[in-house]
């Protein structure tokens, strides 16, 4: 039944109750359902009236629920992972890296742990140990290209990402940076002696110095490596559990300073194992080179088999 004019409509279409004050024009045809038109606004308080029984149906909307006090709202069920967009691109990155034989490592730490120094020392050591191995770096900082400049000084290609106000790198940024690196690689390819070239390569992604946010943002890396220096305190793994839980390896750096600081190495390792029972640990000094051999061995085993 059309509530406005009271005509009984034998059609199956439902009439719409209109809130007072809404303009309405309508026509009725025989059996009414398809030829009947209602011009109306979607106002407040819509319920549907069954033309046969006159019953009111508030559950006829998309969501099949009535929400008292609300206009005809409908519910849309999403159950969508918020980080889904980033994770999709991270998967693409991962796939891209794998298909190019690139082992990507996401280096995370607080600012000043010695990541860049360690990277420079690693690149120099790899030149000796594995001269045919291609190494590249993606640098992340809020501002400046200081870090990328230091890497480039070693002869390894580097791309600097400046996040501006951002506190972490995300997958789309890394995808773009990798594309930049890749272009340069192809450009230089003609100059390399291919007989010594290793089809595998290493990509270090030095994340923004931050022990909180990067933990949730997958970049498509093969593993996260957390770097913790002995000047930071052995309780860091418990204070920043998400990061250490997400990392495959923890590097305890600046061990040359151990005589000068109160840092209990065993306690630090114990704390790290509390939040991540399977975390591996390497102790080293980026400046003296102590422990570098172990780190290079770890890198070797982390890379895809040739």
């Amino acid at each position: 039944m059309c509530v406005v004019c009271g005509c009984a409509d034998a059609g199956t279409a439902e009439a719409v109750v209109e809130a007072p004050g809404h303009a309405h024009g309508h026509t009725h045809g025989p059996e009414g359902d398809h030829s009947r038109e209602h011009a109306h606004d979607h106002g407040q308080g819509h319920g549907h009236i069954d033309p046969g029984s006159g019953d009111l149906h508030f559950g006829a909307g998309k969501a099949r629920v009535s929400v008292p006090g609300m206009s005809q709202s409908r519910a849309i069920k999403l159950e969508t992972d918020i980080l889904g967009a980033n994770n999709r691109i991270a998967s693409q990155n991962r796939h891209h890296f794998e298909s190019h034989g690139v082992t990507a490592l996401n280096l995370v730490s607080s600012p000043g742990s010695g990541k860049t120094t360690l990277l420079c020392a690693t690149i120099e050591a790899l030149k000796v140990r594995a001269p045919g191995l291609h190494v590249a770096v993606i640098e992340g900082d809020q501002q400046t290209s200081f870090d990328a400049d230091r890497i480039r000084a070693t002869g390894a290609p580097a791309v600097q990402i400046n996040t501006g106000k951002g506190c972490h790198l995300d997958a789309p940024m890394v995808a773009q940076a990798f594309a930049q690196l890749h272009q340069h690689q192809h450009h230089d390819a003609g100059h390399h002696d291919h007989s010594h070239a290793d089809p595998r390569s290493l990509l270090f992604i030095e994340n923004v110095g931050n022990l909180v946010c990067p933990a949730v943002w997958d970049l498509g890396e093969a593993a996260k490596v957390a770097i913790l220096s002995v000047t930071e305190g052995e309780d860091k793994p418990l204070k920043y559990p998400d990061m250490f839980a997400a990392s495959k390896l923890m590097i305890i750096n600046k061990i040359d300073l151990l005589p000068h600081v109160l840092f209990d190495v065993q306690r630090c390792i114990e704390f790290a194992r509390r939040v991540n029972p399977s975390i591996e640990v390497i102790q080293l000094s980026g400046t003296t080179g102590e422990g570098m051999g172990t780190w290079l061995n770890w890198l070797g085993s982390a890379m895809y088999p040739a």
Partner: protein, 114 residues
């Protein structure tokens, strides 16, 4: 902080749905941020409320569920509840735990006005 990036991600998600579904505005937005998801509920709410004006999220009620953390305890062979990473198993007091629940970060559903 990264809750701002996450709020941005939520807004984008909602706007993508709006393109698809054609609604006018959101009246209620229900989000799930598990206790082990690495996101702080209050900071997320603040970030969303700051982003909302001028968007279809303006004046929406934001419901954030924070399901509790769950982990599998290797020594006990059982699933137990934990509030945060680094907590010990309440049964055996050890730390050999693997997070199995409370790690979700998702938009569950929303009520919209056409």
């Amino acid at each position: 902080m990264h809750e701002a990036s996450i709020a941005g991600g939520i807004l984008k998600l909602v706007e993508d749905v709006r393109q698809r579904e054609g609604f006018r505005r959101v009246t209620v937005l229900r989000i799930e941020a598990g206790q082990l998801a690495g996101v702080e509920g209050r900071a997320l709410r603040f970030a969303l409320e700051a982003l909302a004006p001028g968007t279809c999220l303006q004046q929406a009620r934001i419901d954030i569920d924070e399901p509790s953390g769950q982990a599998w305890c290797l020594p006990c062979g059982e699933t137990i509840a934990i509030k945060q990473r680094g907590d010990a198993c309440p049964l055996c007091g050890l730390y050999q735990l693997q997070a199995t629940g409370g790690t979700e970060l998702r938009v569950v559903e929303m009520l919209v006005d056409d």
